[in-house]
């Protein structure tokens, strides 16, 4: 990795990065995203929290069905109403809730599959890597409950000595009316 960083002088941006640098980082990032998804699917929420940065912003604004003329108001803005607008403390509460033994909406537990695709690195400067991905979170619970949440997300990863940490996850769901009893899950 050091050799690759040397290949890109400090005054050049991610847009100038060569193919080898792009390919290696793409591989590293994808492997992180897959490992993270596997932890969530395996319900290893506490371990997942270990991949979350102290300054995480985990946010899912509300999307509205609007006309083309009103597309600038399709999503609620930061600070307005959202489905998730979590910091680290809130995410820890969500995990504690799942571990409590009395989170009835997850007992029996849901079965989930976090599919992450179309990963594109938008920027990589210093320790921060910003990427865009498509997600499909499939959840089924009890015998007949099925939820399927599809959308686009923008993540920021921070490279540390111990690997990547998730520093931002902004989720842009495709549904406007949420066709689910709840979202008692982590995206």
């Amino acid at each position: 990795m050091q050799a690759l960083e040397k290949a890109r002088p400090a005054d050049r941006t991610w847009a100038d990065a060569g193919l080898p640098e792009r390919a290696v980082l793409q591989y590293e990032v994808e492997q992180f995203l897959y490992a993270e998804a596997a932890l969530l699917d395996a319900r290893k929420y506490r371990e997942w929290l270990g991949l979350v940065a102290e300054d995480i912003h985990y946010w899912m604004p509300i999307r509205r069905t609007v006309t083309n003329a009103d597309l600038d108001r399709e999503f609620t803005r930061p600070g307005d109403v959202a489905f998730f607008d979590d910091d680290r403390e809130l995410l820890e509460m969500r995990v504690k809730k799942l571990e409590a033994g009395s989170a009835w909406s997850e007992d029996p537990p849901s079965r989930s599959r976090h599919l992450v695709t179309n990963v594109r690195i938008l920027d990589a400067e210093g320790e921060l890597i910003t990427l865009e991905a498509c997600f499909h979170l499939y959840r089924t619970r009890l015998n007949s409950e099925v939820d399927s949440w599809v959308g686009r997300r923008v993540d920021t990863l921070r490279r540390t000595g111990a690997g990547f940490l998730l520093a931002k996850r902004h989720l842009f769901l495709d549904q406007t009316l949420i066709l689910s009893t709840n979202m008692s899950t982590i995206f």
Binding site: R64, R73, F83, D85, N182
Partner: protein
């Protein structure tokens, strides 16, 4: 599909009244599952009652609109050029197509995407392609405007509409208890709705989502994991031995914690500044202490309520006055929940952020409390369909015959101070049977029960 009137013949007044027995608290489970009862509810509850549409701050400018529902009738709530709020049925008078397919936005007029009929913001038909060439100028435009709600009115900026021309005025319909419910929001001053309505659909009957708001019995158990997670301190909000239920004419109710009179006396002696300072010492999930102005809006009894109002049929106000929720019926087995977040105007950005943060995390589909409600309701609804299980009834007997109701401040209201109970649920279903049994407003006015006083 039978319409309401046909079904009404199958469900005569006597059998509708027998669906809930106030003397025992036994509720027939068919109210949660029967298709005929549901069709009749659309006629006799939703089309007849006053339904919450939106807050004035959601449609400030001419042309601003918000889509809502009266039962399953979709309506456009729109401010016209004169600044008036119109509630228009979202269905073209030509072939029934929806004029407006967005859920909110801004429009100069509403043009049908099928053939191009064009309606003004007040619903007038202002044009149709081919009026001369194809219709030969005999299209009766005056008769073919969009259908409108029979009455539209607002209270403290909250707009309501009814399809019934003979419904009482909004003021009289809300009565003391309904006005107290809105007062719970307006108590903190002029308010505005924050951008973004959380909407999700739950596989439950709308009434079980409504009656749950009177149900403080479920809080320690259903929401135990929110306590374990450190999100709420149930003891700080529940006060199981200090519960107050307000019963209002036509089925409105408020249920939940009540401030004991002697504590309210101490609050009354505090200035608004002292109340604010005291509020800051409370947990962030506890409601703020109300200012002096609240007593005018809510009355000396209502101001002591820290419970959840339901404005009949389906508008829940949260005790903090921070959120309201519509429970919109979608067939007997599905309900849409729409959460609106409301904050006082002109408060410091930090306080505004804290309130919105709180609202985002309590209710709504990802809310740390509400996550655990939906499946209880959907499984209760499911069990109302089984041939054997639907005959078992629901048991709403808690506190029955053990409490005393006192008259409210004015006519049409009473209140009970007791411990955790099911008075609110019983009042809701008792009123519901009366609404269902009455064929029109005249019958309902003549035959509904006044909020009881004495032993309840």
């Amino acid at each position: 599909m039978a319409d309401g009137a046909q079904v009404g013949q199958a469900w005569d007044s006597g059998s509708l009244r027998s669906l809930f027995d106030p003397a025992t608290g036994l509720l027939d489970r068919r109210v949660l599952s029967d298709e005929g009862i549901y069709r009749l509810e659309l006629e006799r509850i939703f089309a007849r009652g006053w339904n919450f549409m939106c807050h004035e701050s959601q449609i400030p400018e001419p042309g601003d609109y918000f889509i809502n529902y009266i039962g399953e009738d979709q309506v456009i709530v729109v401010r016209d050029e004169e600044g008036r709020v119109n509630v228009l049925l979202n269905t073209c008078r030509h072939r029934g197509n929806a004029l407006c397919r967005a859920e909110q936005g801004h429009a100069k007029s509403f043009v049908c995407s099928y053939h191009g009929w064009n309606y003004a913001l007040d619903g007038r038909l202002i044009g149709a392609p081919g009026q001369k060439t194809y219709y030969h100028d005999d299209l009766d435009r005056d008769r073919l405007g969009l259908a409108k709600a029979a009455q539209v009115d607002s209270y403290l900026g909250f707009y309501f509409a009814t399809l019934a021309p003979d419904a009482p005025s909004l003021h009289d319909y809300l009565g003391e208890v309904g006005r107290t419910g809105i007062g719970m929001i307006a108590a903190y001053g002029d308010v505005e709705v924050v951008d973004g309505v959380q909407k999700n659909v739950i596989g439950c009957n709308w009434k079980i989502a409504v009656d749950n708001l009177f149900d403080w019995y479920h809080v320690p158990y259903s929401h135990a994991s929110a306590q374990s997670a450190g999100f709420i301190d149930i003891a700080e909000i529940l006060y199981p031995k200090n519960q107050m239920v307000m019963l209002g004419e036509y089925g409105h109710g408020i249920g939940g914690p009540g401030i004991p009179r002697e504590m309210q006396d101490r609050i009354d002696a505090m200035s608004d500044e002292e109340r604010l300072a005291y509020s800051r010492t409370l947990p962030s999930t506890a409601p703020r202490v109300r200012p002096h102005a609240a007593t005018q809006l809510m009355g000396p009894v209502g101001v002591r309520s820290m419970g959840h109002p339901n404005i009949f049929p389906n508008l829940w106000v949260t005790m903090s006055g921070l959120q309201i929720c519509l429970r919109l019926p979608r067939g007997p087995s599905h309900t849409e929940l729409w959460w609106f977040t409301i904050v006082p105007k002109g408060i410091p950005p930090e306080a505004r952020r804290a309130m919105i943060r709180q609202a985002n995390h309590v209710f709504g589909p990802a809310g740390l409390l509400e996550q655990d409600d939906g499946e209880n309701w959907s499984q209760s609804t499911r069990s109302a369909r089984g041939a054997a299980s639907r005959k078992l009834g629901h048991t709403l007997s808690m506190g029955l015959g053990r409490d005393t109701a006192a008259p409210g401040e004015g006519a049409g209201a009473s209140y009970i101070e007791t411990s955790i109970n099911e008075h609110g649920q019983r009042w809701l279903y008792r009123a519901w049977t009366e609404w269902m049994a009455a064929r029109d407003w005249a019958e309902l006015k003549a035959n509904h029960t006044q909020p009881p006083t004495g032993v309840v």
